[in-house]
């Protein structure tokens, strides 16, 4: 559906190259990486806001850009919906006119009807007479999304859709956006530098750094098996596995992960599958008899690998799935940990972070 070979060199010498292929139907491709990696440049090239230095972009049967033939279809003619990082709502127009901005060619009654329908579906039907400056961050995002969706685009491009939000609002809007993207039945490309956003929203991940794509795959593949040190650093998560909900109650959820079971705080989301994230420094290792502890998770297994991780050691234990703990060299020596040693991985339920799996 979309085939993009992008090669963009700026006057400063900075260069961004990537190949993207999106198949028809609903899919969310996440461009993930630190700021300055070239993610937004890719999005802007696809939108036609930047001209390619080399390469081509084809959407369905339409050539959007072909540097060799000096073809560049203007942004206005590309069937895209582009959500800007800070939403770029027009400050001189009320929410209603912002949403209706791109459907000016319709009759007044059709326009009003479409604005109302889209606004209602995004739960901002009662905000139409407000100015953008009177909206909260989450409401601004919905207004900007409505302005994009009302035009019924065929490809959605979202640039850091959650970066203008923080804390509770961000968690809330992230969940809503993930649901919306699943509901929309159209391909989307999302740029983010936040791995929680990447996991929550995407079912295809391209990790970028310094203008190139380092790795691509499903979020789980990329996070679990980073092929580059840079990817590993970018994802920054030692333990990431998929888990299946077995039981929930009392604010706690019991999950099956591999052959093991573990407890986590109930994220209050109606999902059966979650990405289970545990930071290595939150996993303790114990040998010998089990003592009393407040930690809910106590998983026994055997050490399968001990590797250096900066000043610490990363000890990987097979407890039914592979879990990595970051511990000091002194601790490893004191406990006489070695390959094959019997050990228990101990961590509190609150150290487990669950992210709804988007598949």
């Amino acid at each position: 559906m979309l085939h993009a070979e992008i090669d963009k060199t700026f006057k400063s010498g900075a260069r961004v190259t990537a190949t993207l292929d999106l198949s028809a139907g609903p899919s969310v491709t996440v461009l993930f990486g630190p700021s300055g990696a070239g993610k937004t440049t890719l999005l802007r090239c696809i939108a036609g806001l930047e001209e390619l230095t080399a390469g081509r972009i084809v959407f369905k049967d339409q050539i959007w850009a072909d540097a060799a033939q000096r073809r560049h279809l203007p942004t206005q003619k590309r069937a895209i919906g582009y959500l800007f990082q800070d939403y770029a709502l027009f400050p001189h127009l009320k929410v209603r006119d912002n949403i209706g901005f791109g459907i000016h060619e319709l009759s007044l009654s059709d326009r009003s009807e479409r604005i109302m329908r889209t606004a209602t579906s995004l739960q901002i039907g009662d905000l139409l007479d407000r100015w953008p400056s009177e909206l909260s961050g989450g409401q601004q995002q919905r207004a900007a999304l409505a302005r994009v969706l009302v035009r019924e685009p065929e490809l959605l491009l979202l640039d850091e859709p959650l970066s203008a939000l923080d804390g509770v609002a961000r968690d809330h809007v992230r969940g809503e956006l993930a649901q919306l993207l699943r509901r929309l039945q159209m391909p989307a490309i999302v740029v983010t530098h936040d791995w929680v956003d990447a996991l929550s929203l995407g079912n295809r991940l391209h990790v970028m750094s310094r203008g190139i794509v380092l790795q691509e795959g499903t979020p789980q593949e990329v996070f679990a098996r980073p092929q580059h040190a840079e990817v590993a650093a970018a994802v920054g998560m030692e333990n990431l596995v998929k888990g299946h909900v077995k039981e929930r109650g009392d604010g706690v959820v019991r999950l099956q992960v591999g052959r093991a079971e573990l407890y986590a705080p109930d994220p209050q989301r109606d999902h059966a599958e979650f990405f289970v994230c545990i930071r290595g420094e939150n996993v303790m290792l114990e040998t010998g008899t089990r003592g009393q502890s407040s930690a809910r998770n106590h998983l026994s297994g055997k050490v399968v690998e001990i590797a250096s991780a900066g000043s610490l050691l990363k000890v990987t234990v097979d407890v039914g799935f592979e879990i990595a703990a970051l511990v000091t060299r002194q601790a490893v020596a004191d406990m006489r940990l070695e390959h094959g040693a019997e050990v228990a991985a101990v961590f509190k339920a609150s150290a487990v972070h669950l992210i709804p799996a988007s598949d």
């Binding site: 806001l49 942004t75 895209i80 582009y82 027009f90 791109g102």
Partner: protein
């Protein structure tokens, strides 16, 4: 009060400000958004009337529209009369003289429009023209009004260029500022004083209006 001079001045200033809307807008747009590397040369030319003595500018304009110049000859063949010492000639000269007063506030206002707003408009399928009228102009409204008002007011107050190009023909090219000069020359201080005071009040009101449009003072002028 010399109402004839006031009427001539108002006619000249309105015509000049109106012509500048049509000439100044595209120049301002180009100055604000062009990425041409030699753009500064055009900006310098536009700003020249700010530093040139009005007599120098007036001299060049007079030569350029005189009967021996190709432009002057072309105009005369078209209308049957020359440009110097006519109101049309004065409008051309005043347009050049007030150009920076129209271009600079408008270009500054265009530049201050957030680039992402313009791009957002494009991604919503709106053409460059549509984007200009629906995004750029409304957000640069204060600068547009300032540009119009300033070029009007600056034309009201001009002296050297009018004298060089228009001469001093009562009812045709004699403006308020020249009238004041004439009155002083003939030691008629009372009349000069009254007209000067009226011009002072007018100028103050105009500038107050411009500054009231612009909360962040000093950005537009």
């Amino acid at each position: 009060m010399n109402w004839e001079a006031i009427l001539t001045t108002l006619k000249l200033a309105s015509a000049t400000a109106t012509v500048l809307v049509f000439i100044g807008l595209p120049i301002s747009y180009w100055v604000a958004f062009s990425k041409w590397r030699w753009k500064f040369l055009v900006e310098a030319v536009v700003a020249l009337p700010l530093v040139l003595p009005p007599t120098v500018l007036g001299f060049y304009v007079l030569v350029a529209m005189g009967p021996r110049s190709p432009f002057g000859q072309w105009y005369e063949s078209l209308t049957g009369h020359g440009l110097p010492f006519t109101l049309e000639g004065l409008v051309i000269a005043s347009t050049l003289y007030s150009l920076p007063f129209a271009v600079q506030p408008v270009a500054a206002a265009f530049r201050s429009v957030d680039r992402r707003m313009i791009e957002a408009s494009w991604t919503l399928g709106v053409s460059s023209w549509g984007t200009f009228f629906r995004v750029i102009a409304p957000q640069a409204k204060a600068g547009l009004i300032a540009g119009f008002v300033l070029s009007f007011a600056h034309t009201v107050g001009e002296f050297g260029v009018v004298l060089m190009v228009g001469g001093n023909i009562p009812g045709v090219t004699r403006t308020i500022s020249i009238h004041v000069y004439d009155e002083v020359q003939s030691l008629n201080y009372a009349s000069a004083g009254m007209t000067s005071f009226a011009l002072l009040v007018f100028s103050f009101l105009i500038l107050s209006l411009v500054y009231s449009l612009n909360p962040r003072r000093g950005r537009i002028i």
